[in-house]
């Protein structure tokens, strides 16, 4: 299924790999030893609260930020010094694109299109119309949302092997957002495009992502397949009288006003829930991703 249609120059190198990446700002550590590897054709949804460091991680991945320690690799090349051939296969859309503000959307496409061997000019033209962008308006005069839409079109039209999007949903109305998700899903499934996108809209991620990663307090939690996350984790609720028996290795614990306790638990290797789930009054609730996220990050 994950067939890659175009040849990979660096054989067997993962499209994206991050090793022990750490970074901090003056007000504290943002990333604390991140490890991550993406397989071709996978779609990773990166979620985390505002300020969790998603954009910092993404900027380090694409070589726009030099981390305090650790490294990121794109198709096997260090992100801080990638070759032109890797650049041509990568598309990154920041939250607030600012480059080439003096050009119109059409001029910018004509200009950047020359750098991409597989540039799809007719796709770019169609999408501009569908997403309501005037092709002859100077980019600097577009709203931030319109500006990001233009950049998303630029990224998709280049037909990249690796597509990295920082909060792409924020700029789009529901119809265009669904349209973008469809593009992401079909390109990953059919052309083998590898995608990483950050979001705080969990339902977007549930639709198209094959894998998730929660960025929380500098670490990536619950790195796994989306389907697996729903089947492997659940909320265990214990009445006050039983709360002392809660598993000590639970992913999160929340004490309620009546003394009852809810914890996020993981299935054991044999598929069973931890033993506390069998206690009288205990209840196991399946969790959607949003609930799981709130339980852990809340």
């Amino acid at each position: 299924m994950n067939a890659v249609l175009r040849p990979i120059t660096n054989h067997h190198a993962a499209p994206l790999q991050v090793r022990k990446l750490s970074h901090g700002y003056e007000d504290g550590t943002v990333l604390a030893g991140i490890d991550l590897s993406l397989q071709p054709g996978s779609v990773l949804g990166l979620i985390g609260r505002n300020g969790a460091g998603k954009s910092t991680l993404i900027r380090a991945m694409v070589g726009l930020l030099k981390p305090d320690s650790g490294e990121a690799f794109l198709f096997g090349e260090p992100a801080l010094k990638i070759s032109d051939s890797v650049k041509a296969r990568l598309a990154y859309v920041p939250q607030q694109p600012e480059a080439l503000a003096w050009l119109t959307a059409q001029q910018m496409f004509d200009y950047v299109g020359r750098f991409y061997p597989d540039w799809d000019a007719s796709f770019a033209k169609t999408k501009l119309r569908e997403w309501g962008i005037l092709p002859n308006k100077v980019l600097g005069k577009l709203s931030p949302g319109e500006r990001q839409r233009v950049d998303l079109i630029r990224a998709l039209a280049s037909q990249p092997s690796l597509l990295i999007l920082d909060e792409p949903a924020a700029a789009l109305d529901p119809v265009a957002r669904r349209d973008l998700l469809r593009e992401i899903a079909l390109r990953a499934g059919e052309a083998g495009t590898t995608v990483l996108f950050s979001t705080h809209i969990v339902s977007d991620l549930e639709r198209v992502a094959s894998d998730i990663a929660f960025l929380h307090e500098g670490k990536l939690l619950l790195q796994c397949a989306v389907d697996e996350s729903k089947e492997r984790f659940a909320r265990l609720w214990l009445p006050a009288s039983m709360s002392a028996a809660a598993p000590t290795d639970a992913l999160s614990r929340c004490r309620h006003a009546d003394g009852s306790l809810s914890v996020v638990v993981e299935r054991r290797a044999d598929g069973a829930w931890p033993e506390a789930a069998l206690l009288p009054g205990a209840r196991v609730d399946a969790l959607g991703l949003e609930d799981l996220f709130v339980e852990i990050a809340g």
């Binding site: 994950n2 899903a185 079909l186 499934g189 992502a209 389907d227 729903k230 959607g288």
Partner: protein, 123 residues
Amino acid sequence: MFAIQPTSAEPIYRQIVEQLRRLIAGGQLVTGELLPSVRDVAGFHAINPMTVSRAYGMAESEGMLERLRGKGMAVAATTRSTATQAQRMALLEPQLQDLARHARELELPGDAVLRRLGRLLEE
């Protein structure tokens, strides 16, 4: 043709498999009927094609679907178009258990719930 709820705690591939099971058991999908392609389902719902393939593959391995060369997936010939009432009833069991649990949590009397359910079934 499928109703997909991405936010449900039930993974999307499972939602598709269970809907296929119900549609086939209820006779809405009959032997030989072609299913929409993976691409059509994925494109329509803006979901990952791999999720749809996984669901179709599971349904195939359970014998609900069969792959027709060059045509795609169809409802398997071995599937009886209408399962027995007991088999169809078994498919409803999880929802009935959920309903019973919710009714108990709300401390609703059973006969009131059954009256309402009866009216819904007559609609």
